[in-house]
Point group: C2
Chain length 520, copies 2
């Protein structure tokens, strides 16, 4: 490429650094970036019809690809629309490289209608933010952004691209910058943890981040087998490997009541690649800190430290001769009868294909899912790390772009589906192998539960009406078909089984509107 | 109400201050607010399935009701999802009172998954932001928020409500606080403007804000009739009154080329209730400032000043004996044949009912709309003030809540429709009299235009693919029906006429998928 303009040097630099997918919802200020896609054909542009789809797809892509995608967003409002799924990406420590077009440098002072404080909003993500000042800078800025996104443990990097920097001549392609590796863990931390594990008191080991992949799971399982420690994965891991042939590690519960049960009697909580457990929300009269009273917290590896090496080092000290306990293959029988909270997850467990990726936003409907799929063929589970609902459809979309040879299963509650429903259109456009099962219980069921849990017992008709999604019922078959995704409705386990098997066998996206009763 | 809790005192205070509609997308941290709806039945809760619907509806509501609605949003991600339409509300100077639930005060230090910097994001709206510290404060804070939202010229006020402040006892209901009225205009400004108007050189008068209602339009028309000045309304007024019996005031164009034509030869630009014209975006080699070279700008009334009184004062000086020029009733004939960019607007002009409210997000498809509706019965037009697309469906929803006895017509481009499509569900749930006409041209047509205008002439196949919405085609009939809104498809002017007449005659929401050719 001779004499690239700013946008061309940006895209070339991204591609050279391994970022070759851009989820995009462009506007006028991004038109030169769009035009430059024709001069750097290695960059794949994937269109989303809403920025929450774009950012969620970038999150899902990187969780599976292990490297960042770029996003292309239109000024402050575009970032705003993408913010909730960037929040989830931030909590997942997913590397994401946002490119946000802005007004030309000389245009900003006119306070045109789309002018807003992009830095303030991007800064709320506590990642990396830079504004490119000239076409000659943008290559180096892009290389720095890709590195910053991947510096352990991973973060959202945002590069603001003024329109005249994009269209200006004199772009310079920059070489990739190596990201910062995870920091090694201090030897004393390993020894202290080994001591706690070999003492007389009950221990729980809580793993997260990179420890939720095979190597970390095996080390944790060896430690548990040798010492009797309980092992849990963090409540919402970005990506948890599981299934037959891997250690089966239970996740810490979402509800404080569950966690109290799981950690009952524990005197030492070892955290590895995550933080000590806290309640998702506060509730009147209940503790926020979920570490049992009187228990000590030992940090083996903070987020951003080399947790897998640390776990292996501990295992060498306390479990040198112990093998991990691996899950045997085991599937539920294909159930029958009207769909229930129990039997729909059995259908998933019975039919989950090899190497599946589950984007799990089933929320209350998925309470029994982990047990039903524990012995299914090896698969990945992606979870709602940041609690901002509307993540499932976009994340499934990005995961399918990252792994076109793997089946992606999006288990999607109805209440969360409408936030980013147009991800279905992108799935159809790109012919992605995503099967969406909407758990359609006609309610914000989790909020009915929460209305009770927060002690708001006076919740009357008017309160409950705000948590009801049945007036009118949503017909997800029609909505999906309207966006180009073939869809069917299942009301029995037999129908769900038959439709799921067919959807998984056919290439391209499918949606099943599974009518399930609410948990409450 | 004896001894209200924080949430109850908040809602009671809002209702006492005239804020009796709350567009809500609640989560756990807002459950006590939801529960309190049963103890203050004067507050109407309207559920949206996505926060962009909630904030856009609050914008549309206030533009028509002339007073704010409240929103109920779930922490930082909820605000993020609502940010784009709050940006539009900010640019419209619409009063909006956001209530954003947050973690309990003592819970924030645990950095739970949904923790984020709400103040930073809310601050980007340059309105009013406060965090309530105790149940005893929240009433006074709410009264201050309602006043701040309505202080001339109007703004977005954001009240952050920690969960324990909401559920805590000791709430105190506060009395309404009077908002600040528009500042009076200096007499010298009136005299200077009158002098420019009565001089020998060509003058353009650009009106905006509150001057786009009848009183301002009449004063502007008198001035124009007496002095020969050209009068324009700002490009994107929040609300423009127009139709038979009112002065017909042309809007300034969106494209710089249009504005150059409109202001050709002008030596004095008088701005009243708005700012001097600037280009929406910057373009290589073209000016951002759209005031003709050599012309002087005179400010009659800044945004936030009493522009209507100022215009009347000027009219008394320069047009004491002149009547305004009022639009005669005049409608296009009902056209026939396949839908075109010309004939679909003629259908609207031919059938627009009395007292209609048009939420206009037709974008490129609506280029010829103003001429076709100029002589229709008196109506209001709401426009995309901030340029953040996805505003039309929510704003139409809120307008219909504000004026249940008026027909609301949402003219909606396909490219902008998917951002906030679930507004249709709220329209069905509330049985609102909104007729949506989707201008379905299968493209981001405005971006095709902009790709050329920014000089990115190399836009090749890959660039153009990103602006194409035809793979797959969206079927808005199915999408609408899936959300509970009856829908039909029109491909000819006859079909559109027949379907529109029927939709307007029947109560409740309707959608027409109007297949139109792209402008380019």
């Amino acid at each position: 490429m001779t004499e690239p303009n700013g946008a061309q040097s940006l895209i070339r630099t991204l591609v050279d650094a391994g970022v070759d997918v851009c989820f995009a919802n462009p506007g006028t200020s991004e038109m030169h970036f769009v035009a430059a896609l024709d001069s750097v054909p290695e960059m794949r542009g994937v269109l989303g019809l809403f920025e929450g789809v774009v950012t969620g797809a970038a999150d899902g892509y990187a969780r599976i690809a292990g490297k960042p995608a770029a996003t292309l967003l239109h000024l402050g409002p575009g970032l705003g629309n993408g913010l909730a799924n960037l929040h989830n990406a931030r909590r997942a420590h997913t590397p994401v490289v946002n490119v946000i077009g802005d007004h030309a440098t000389y245009h900003k002072r006119y306070d045109a209608p789309l002018e807003s404080d992009i830095e303030a909003v991007a800064g709320s993500l506590e990642g990396w933010v830079r504004r490119s000042e000239s076409p000659g800078d943008i290559g180096a800025d892009a290389a720095a952004a890709v590195a910053a996104a991947q510096d352990a443990p991973g973060r959202v990097a945002t590069l603001i691209l003024p329109a005249d920097v994009s269209w200006g001549e004199g772009g310079r392609v920059a070489a990739p910058v190596a990201p910062r590796a995870p920091r090694p863990v201090e030897e004393t931390a390993v020894k202290n943890v080994a001591e706690a594990l070999t003492g007389d008191e009950p221990v729980a080991l809580l793993i997260g981040g990179g420890a939720c992949f095979e190597a970390g799971l095996r080390a944790a399982s060896r430690i548990a087998a040798a010492t009797g420690a309980k092992v849990f994965a963090e409540t919402f891991p970005a990506r948890l490997e599981r299934g037959a042939g891997l250690p089966s590690i239970e996740r810490l519960g979402y509800l404080a009541e569950q966690v109290a049960y799981q950690l009952d009697g524990v005197k030492h909580v070892i955290v590895a690649g995550t933080k000590a457990p806290v309640s998702f929300f506060a509730y009147p009269g209940k503790p926020s800190d979920l570490v049992p009273e009187g228990a000590r917290v030992h940090t083996l590896a903070e987020v951003g430290e080399d947790v897998v090496t640390a776990l292996n080092d501990v295992a060498e000290l306390v479990a040198a001769d112990t093998e991990p306990v691996l899950q045997e293959p085991s599937r539920p029988a294909v159930p029958s009868g009207p769909l229930t909270t129990q039997n729909w997850v059995e259908v998933i467990g019975a039919l989950l294909p090899e190497r599946a990726i589950i984007a799990d936003e089933a929320n209350t409907s998925g309470l029994l899912l982990p047990a039903a799929t524990a012995g299914a063929p090896r698969h990945d589970v992606l979870t709602l790390t940041g609690g901002a609902i509307g993540y499932g459809m976009p994340v499934a979309t990005g995961a399918a772009i990252a792994a076109p040879d793997r089946p992606v299963l999006n288990l999607q509650s109805d209440g969360s589906a409408l936030y980013t429903i147009s991800a279905l259109w992108t799935q159809a456009r790109e012919n992605l192998n995503v099967t969406t099962v909407v758990l359609n219980n006609h309610a914000y069921a989790i909020l009915r539960l929460e209305l009770q849990r927060v002690g708001a017992e006076s919740g009357g008709d008017r309160a409950n009406a705000l948590l009801d999604l049945s007036r009118p019922d949503m017909d997800f078959v029609k909505i999906a078909e309207g966006m180009g995704v073939p869809a069917t409705r299942a009301t029995t386990a037999e129908e769900l089984s038959e439709q799921l098997a067919r959807a998984l066998a056919e290439p391209g996206p499918h949606l099943i509107d599974a009518v399930v009763p609410p948990l409450l």
